[in-house]
């Protein structure tokens, strides 16, 4: 297997340029973030933060100060509202299972949107086995949740609602204030969770102003290291632990804290928020250049998700008819352009993206989709390079498709 991968890698030799756009699935960690992390491996704060020695106290100080930064950016009241976890998946598991455990005597109903990330979908599937029923609220062709159906789905047994503030695949910015108000008007006891991994540092989001109960954030989606994320839990909201073990500084997640990753998460947050407007404007400009460039250069190309202000500043998701997505990702990779696809073939479960199906894309459109996310580190030359690579790649794959599947 490794030999095959080595051969695949050799096939990429001599690339003129490389443009990494698959921030959805993992990110490049910028040098300035890595540099901030390095001293915490062997020079400072390498101890366990619960122990009574200098490196331990240093670790405690470092974790608290890093968490304080993150909590400020998110608009928390106290830093105790931030519960560090090993990532978005774990934070979503904690939010959903931890709330289900804490609220099981009040009701067994959970409400989510149809386009939640896999970690939310799979957790609710799992909870079904334990008597919790999940209602999925449909979305419109732009991915915006149907608020009327949300209202109708909430009753006195609804313990939890989970709706991402920004959709991870198509970048839809949800009317999360309205959704929250609808839910709380109907049942003030219902806990409202949002996976804010694609909102944090992308759109203005202040958990205190929003009066949200739970919010997931993730480090790698803001170009921090993988393996660290957090669940915001509003003061007074009860979430139970879902893992047991030695409790350190994090009351909802046992085990020894990974101080360098926490430092990296805080540093990435700082860099993203320092020039928030400027960063967002940069992403938005690159995003729109990619979208209009692709539509201008490739026939039968469609944008998935909303345009303009209703769309996350970094998200580009396009469908190409008669062009299977996995083949397209490989073709683009061989040209140094790294993207992911909503095709069944790349999703390991042989079903196309549930998000694209939910917004009414047909299966050909879903299989022929690619997802890209831009960052403030991308250059105009990167966009230019991508806009040269994509039309050629689509043309070649369409050449293989030929008349197959054309009625």
């Amino acid at each position: 297997m490794v030999e095959n991968v080595k051969a695949l890698l050799r096939a990429h030799a001599g690339l003129e340029r490389e443009v990494y756009l698959d921030i959805e699935n993992s990110s490049i960690v910028p040098e300035e973030v890595v540099e901030a992390m390095l001293p915490y491996y062997d020079q400072h704060a390498y101890g366990n933060p619960t122990l009574t020695h200098k490196p331990g106290w240093e670790a405690f100080e470092t974790i608290m100060e890093s968490t304080q930064k993150i909590s400020n950016f998110l608009g928390c009241r106290t830093l105790e509202e931030i519960n560090l976890t090993p990532g978005e998946t774990e934070a979503n598991n904690l939010a959903l299972i931890g709330t289900a455990f804490a609220m099981k005597d009040k009701g067994k109903k959970i409400v989510i949107s149809e386009i939640e990330p896999i970690s939310v979908l799979h957790v609710t599937d799992m909870l079904r086995k334990y008597g919790f029923a999940t209602t999925k609220i449909p979305v419109d062709s732009e991915g915006i949740i149907n608020l009327e159906k949300l209202r109708n789905a909430i009753d006195k047994e609804t313990i939890l609602v989970s709706v991402s503030a920004v959709n991870h695949e198509i970048g839809t910015i949800q009317p999360i204030h309205e959704a929250l108000k609808i839910v709380k008007d109907k049942n003030p006891q219902t806990i409202f969770h949002t996976d804010a991994s694609d909102s944090y540092a992308k759109i203005p989001l202040n958990v205190q102003e929003l009066k949200i109960d739970l919010a997931t954030i993730s480090s790698y989606k803001i170009l921090g290291p993988r393996g660290i994320g957090a669940l915001y839990v509003r003061e007074g909201v009860n979430v139970e632990r879902i893992l047991e073990g030695q409790i350190g500084t994090q009351k909802l997640w046992p085990g020894v804290e990974n101080t360098p990753l926490i430092v990296g998460f805080a540093k990435a947050s700082e860099l993203a928020f320092q020039r928030f407007e400027e960063n967002v404007d940069c992403m938005r400009r690159l995003r729109d250049e990619l979208i209009s460039g692709i539509i201008g250069k490739v026939s039968e190309a469609k944008l998935n998700g909303p345009k303009g202000e209703k769309r996350a500043p970094d998200n580009v998701n396009m469908s190409f008819l008669r062009c299977e997505g996995e083949a397209l990702t490989i073709e683009l990779s061989l040209k140094g352009v790294y993207v992911s696809s909503g095709s069944a073939c790349t999703r390991r479960i042989l079903q196309p993206s549930h998000v694209l199906v939910a917004i009414g894309r047909n299966y050909d459109e879903a299989h022929g989709s690619i997802l890209m996310k831009v960052t403030r580190y991308h250059k105009d030359e990167d966009v230019k390079y991508v806009l040269e690579a994509i039309p050629k790649a689509v043309e070649r794959i369409r050449g293989i498709t030929g008349s197959t599947g054309v009625d």
Partner: protein
């Protein structure tokens, strides 16, 4: 699950052999469905001695789909239809240097399309050689199953659209 395609699959993906529509094909057969993101068309030119003179393909699918379709067209060139009928999906998978388990269905679909083409050719000729069993082969059944699944998905989507 990682997809460590081997060099043969990559080579056939980059430079597929026998790609394209054949205008003067003796028989054409399709398997799969674009709904599943997996569809193959074979064009076979068969001579009077029932030998495959030439085969080409078009494919809507992943790299494994393209590679297995392409290798089938290579394998059957110059073969009698009886020998071509006896090709199994496993030998196709071997011929491309092995497939990740999640891509076995690509090899199965390619052979399903081939067997369909052979069956169609005999049906058109009103011939029924002894080796051509009435009962569908494993690969034809699998192709049919995938197409049924696609129809089911399509119906489910229509229903979702009405809501």
């Amino acid at each position: 699950m990682p997809l460590p395609y081997n060099p043969k699959v990559l080579e056939l993906f980059r430079n597929p052999k026998n790609l394209g529509k054949m205008e003067d094909a003796t028989v054409t057969a399709v398997a799969g469905n674009p709904l599943c993101g997996d569809m193959i068309t074979f064009y076979l030119k068969i001579n009077e001695q029932d030998i495959v003179e030439k085969a080409t393909f078009e494919s809507y699918g992943c790299a494994a789909n393209i590679a297995t379709s392409s290798i089938v067209t290579e394998m059957i060139k110059g073969m009698s239809l009886e020998d071509a009928w006896n090709i199994s999906w496993k030998s196709v998978a071997e011929a491309v240097g092995g497939l990740p388990s999640i891509k076995f269905h690509c090899g199965i679909l390619a052979v399903g399309a081939l067997k369909r083409a052979i069956r169609k050719y005999h049906k058109n000729k009103n011939a029924s050689p002894e080796w051509l069993k009435e009962e569908l082969s494993f690969e034809e059944k699998q192709a049919l199953e995938e197409e049924e699944l696609a129809k089911m998905l399509a119906r489910r989507m229509e229903k979702a659209g009405e809501q």
